[in-house]
C-alpha cells in the first residue's frame, strides 16, 4: 500500500533531479495516475515544499563574467530575536544568493554573486560590514566550481560502454 508521504517522497526524488519532466511522464515512471501526481505537485507548491524550479548553469562556459564569494560573518545576536533579524537584513539584498546560520567559529555564511570583484567587495565593505550587529567578516572568493548541486561540472555526456554487448 502506497502512503501519501511515500508518493510525495517518490515525486520529490525524481523532480529534485529533473524538474522539466512532464506530469504524464512522471506519472508513468512512478506507476501513478496523472491526476494523483498533478494534485500532489500542486499541494507541494502551495505548502511551500517546492519553492521554485531553477536551471543549473555553468557560467564558466558562457561569455558572461560572474564572481561568487562565500562570506563568513560574526554577529551579535539581538535580545528576543536571536540571529533572525540580522540575517533578514542581509538576505534582503538581491545580490545575496543564500544565507545560512552556521554552528562553529562564526555565525552566518553569506553566499553572494556579483558581476565583478569590485561589486562583491563593495557589498562587503559598504553594506555588510557597516551593519550594527556585524562584528567581523571574512570573504572567500570562489576560484573554480568543480561540483554544484550534486552535478559534476566537468563530466561529459559520453557513454564509455561498447555499443552492443550480450
Amino acid at each position: 500500500m502506497m502512503t501519501d508521504s511515500n508518493i510525495r517522497e517518490r515525486i520529490l526524488a525524481v523532480i529534485e533531479k529533473n524538474s522539466r519532466i512532464e506530469i504524464n511522464e512522471l506519472a508513468t515512471v512512478l506507476g501513478l495516475t496523472e491526476i494523483t501526481v498533478a494534485n500532489e505537485i500542486k499541494a507541494l507548491e502551495e505548502e511551500g515544499v517546492i519553492c521554485g524550479y531553477l536551471t543549473m548553469i555553468d557560467w564558466e562556459k558562457t561569455s558572461i563574467e560572474k564572481v561568487s564569494a562565500l562570506i563568513e560573518v560574526r554577529v551579535t545576536p539581538q535580545r528576543g530575536q536571536g540571529f533572525d533579524t540580522i540575517a533578514e537584513r542581509i538576505y534582503k539584498y538581491p545580490e545575496v544568493d543564500a544565507v545560512y546560520l552556521i554552528s562553529g567559529g562564526y555565525d552566518l555564511l553569506v553566499c553572494i554573486e556579483g558581476k565583478t570583484l569590485k561589486e562583491v567587495s563593495s557589498f562587503v565593505s559598504q553594506k555588510l560590514s557597516t551593519q550594527e550587529s556585524v562584528l567581523s567578516t571574512a570573504t572567500h572568493f570562489i576560484l573554480k566550481k568543480y561540483k554544484d548541486h550534486g552535478i559534476d561540472l566537468n563530466k561529459g555526456l559520453e557513454d564509455g560502454r561498447e555499443l552492443i554487448t550480450p
Binding site: 529533473n18 515512471v29 512512478l30 564509455g160 560502454r161 561498447e162 552492443i164 550480450p166
Partner: protein
Amino acid sequence: MRNPLSDTIVNIKPSGIRKFFDIVADMPDAISLGVGEPDFETPWHIRDEGIYALEKGKTFYTSNSGLKELRAEICNYLDRKIGVKYEPLSEVIITVGGSEAIDIGLRAMLNPGDEVLIPQPSYVSYEPCTILAGGKPVFIPLKEENEFRLTGRELLDAITDKTKVLIMPFPNNPTGAIMDKDDLEEIAKICVEKDLIVMSDEIYSELSYHGEHVSIAAMPGMRERTVLINGFSKAFAMTGWRLGYACGPKEIIEQMTKIHQFAIMCAPTTSQYAAVEALKNGDDDVKMMRESYDQRRRFLMQAFKDMKLQCFEPFGAFYVFPCIKEFGMSSEEFCTRFLMEEKVAVVPGTAFGDSGEGFVRVSYAYSLEKLKLAMGKLNNFITKLRGEK
C-alpha cells in the same frame, strides 16, 4: 601446414551479437539500446576502496578461492537476501565474473554425453560452455504466453535418462522474466524427484521489480543440488572489474576450484577488495539504481502500450522483450532495418536462441532522455511498417 585448430571450437558458431555489433560500430551517430551492462559508473566509495587497496600495496595473488573476508561477506549477503547459509571456507569460490563460474561449473560437473537443459531465450554462453565441457546442450524453448517462465511441464518433457544439469537463468537476459516462489517450488520438486543438478545464474537478482528475488537454492532439498552463480557486475555496476562467485555443495566447489586454480589462479585482487566494500556498504546504491531502472521499465512499457506493440511485462533485469511478429519479418531483418532507417540499435531475439525469433531485446540501461528519443524513433518505424502492409 597441419590444421592448427580444434574441431570442437571451430564448430561452435560465434555469438549472434557479434555480427550486429560490427554494423553498429560503423554508425557513430546511432543510438544504441543494445548494451547488456549498467549505465551507472561503479559507486565512488567502491572505486575508492579499489584505489586504496592499490595504494596499500595489495597487489599480490589472493588464495585460489578468493579473499576470506570477501567469501565471508558473500555468505552474510546471501543469508540476508535469499536465506541460504553457505560455509565461506568450503562452499564459495570467487571467479572472474559470473561467466567464469558458468564455465568452470559445467566443466566440474559434466561427463561426455551428459545433457544440460538450457531454457531459451537466455544468455549466450551456456551452450558453448556446455559443448566445451563435453556435454550436450538440450534447449527448452520458453513461451511468451508463460511470460517466458520455465514450467514444470516443459521441464518434464525435456528430461531424458542422460539429463544431468538444468540451467536456471532468472531474472532473465534477454526477456526480463522472473520466477516467483510458486514457479520455483514446482521446478524444485521435479529436480529433486529426477535427481537433477541446477546451475542457477542469478546475476540479475538485485534487479527484481516485483517483490524480493527468490532463489531456487532456498527451496526444499535444493541447497545440496544447486550451484548458485552471482556477481558484482549488475548489482553494483562493476562489469569492468570482472568479479563473480559461485556457491554450492563442497564437492562441486572443490572441483571448480581446481580448474580455476590451474586456468585462472585467482580473481583480480583489486576487484576483490572493492567488492568487500560493495557488500558492506552498497545497499543504498543498489536501491537507487534499482529504482532508476524500474522507472525506465515503466516508461518503456507505457511507450509500447501507446504504440500498440505487444510486450509482456517483465519484472527483472534491465531488458524488455517486445514481440515483432505482426510485421511479418525476422528479428534480424527488423533490427537491421530499424538500425538503417532510424539509426537505433536493438538486439534480435535470435541472438539468445532460436526461440527468440519474433522478438527483440531492448535494454533500458540508458537515461530516460535517451529512451524517450529512441521510442519516438521506434514509433516512426513501426508506423511506417504498418503502412507498408
